[in-house]
Amino acid sequence: MSDALHERVQAFIDGEAASFDALACDIARHQAREVEPVRRLFAAEGVVPEALATAAEIPALPTDVFRLRRVGVKADDERVFSTSGTTADARGHHPMRRVDTYRHGALTWGRRLLFPDVERLRTVALLSPEAAAPGSSLTFMVARFAEALGGDASYHWDGTQLDVEGLRARLSEGEPALVAGTSFAFVMLLDALGDARLPLARGSRVMQTGGFKGRTREVEPETLRRQVASCFALPETSVVAEYGMTELSSQLYQAGVRDGDASTVYHAPPWLRVTAVDPGTLEALPEGEMGLARFVDLANLDSAVAVLTMDRVRVHHRPDGDRVRLYGRQPGATPRGCSLALEPFLSGDA
């Protein structure tokens, strides 16, 4: 079992001096023994687990595999998070034997980037309540934020519709709030409010995440940030985008709340290493070049520590964590013929 690794990763998250590479390689060795797709990938790539010396040598598992196979150790799962594909065929799953490391990482990075300046905040979620969405890693995370921020939380999404009146009432209560939700839920709210505004108390902040998934019109990220800030009468730096996905256990945030930085750069925690790789060779690219995002996420302990996504990024490495700019999805194969494309079957972001 991986309990000792969980303790080591939690200590790393707490800042205990340790080698990222050594820990990542130990986790990869555990997964090469216990997680069938990882074992197969090591064998196919000719990588000997015992010979691993750096995180860069760990073969990264494509996120597609989370849709096609169980990517987890053979054990009872404390939780199984699912991607938000629109059909069962498109949905991927991330089983977790223990969620405490996920929770610890999410709370630690949330405290640094999203609520570094406050102990208590009301949480207003444009999400389903946790009991109604037990497979949503986003809902799980926001529920843990709510507990950490005093427990005053409300949820305003029923799976298909936004509870606009409930939100209106809740947001008018006058206390600072963390308003968290998906990008499409914020667009629904903006559309429902029209020209009306819902000024929030000073100290409030917004966390928005994810794409639109065809549920609403699409809005450019910077436009959405500006419109949300205007709607809530907040500075744009108080509207923070999160980047996460079900296949990962760690998250990246923009640094508006912490640094007053209004840029669209995402900050990775020290326990998440991001590398841009060449889409054709999967070789690491020089710093700043655009490529596919390859993550080594120490909190992905009982699944796959190295994950290859379809998102295009540029990465700058900094001692306190990687800085990442997003450039959308890598296109699939050039369309030709009338054969069915792969894209409807690929796993979506959380």
Partner: protein, 323 residues
Amino acid sequence: MRRLEALLAHARHWADAHHPAGRALRARLRETSVLSSEGLELALAHLETEVSLEASRRLQERAALHGAPVVHVLLAGNVCVAALRAVVFALACAPRVEVRPSRRDPALAEAIAGACPDVTLVSQLAPAPNHGVHLYGSDATLRELSLPGRALRFGSGIGVAAVRGVEEVPMLMKDLVAFDGAGCISPRLLVAEHPRQLLEALHGALETCDVPRGALTDDDRAALTRARRTYAAIGAWAEGQHHALALDPAPQKLSLLPPLRAAVVVPADTLERWLPTREITMIAGEGPIASRLAAMAPRARRAALGSMQRPPLDGPVDLRPLA
């Protein structure tokens, strides 16, 4: 029927590499097609040039259910010979046909319009409410289209081949190589009792194929790289210079390779549990596996292995919207 016969007479010229019309079409197709020169010649060998009495009768029956004064046809960035069948069906439905060709591959549509006075190329479809509209394209594109008129939507699909043994590999190879496996009736999923044997035998056969695949783009290479790694983690992968095959030994969901002369091989035992049937446009092969597939997807066409890409000229290749 006279218009159909006249159009097929032109098709015989287009299929003939030595006829001036055939040479002209090839010159134009070389500007637009993603296929290699050899692949293009093989594609043109699949151009329909004859229609049997039986096929003609079924064509007329199907068309009679969708008759209209004018039919408007939106062609997809399609396999390069597909425009002919689409126009044949439209002409069977209506005295006059307007075609908006694919921007990527307009060559055959242009030739057809040049040869057939009842067919006009347009840059935008403008149907009246009593007109017929035949839309060919990806499901995503078709969902976004909203036009007046009575629409038939021919979306994306896949061909599934039921393979009884390695002795059927030469026939299967014919189906996979034509159009680089990118048609909606091309074999993308290969079902076999002994999938690993099939993977190895087909891989070996494809290594000897003398029709090169069309040139790959960077995005194609990236899609293959990703697929290679995905199947390394779940099954097996066999790749040659001009093809790729994957094995999923215990499928739980449909997975596909990019349509680059590539297919996934799966075992037959659990098909009913995981294979979504709405996507299946063609089932090829004989025997118990093919029968099971046909029961699961009754609207799909049937063909013998080796004939997947040559359905009779009795209507659109994708019969799902007509069922």
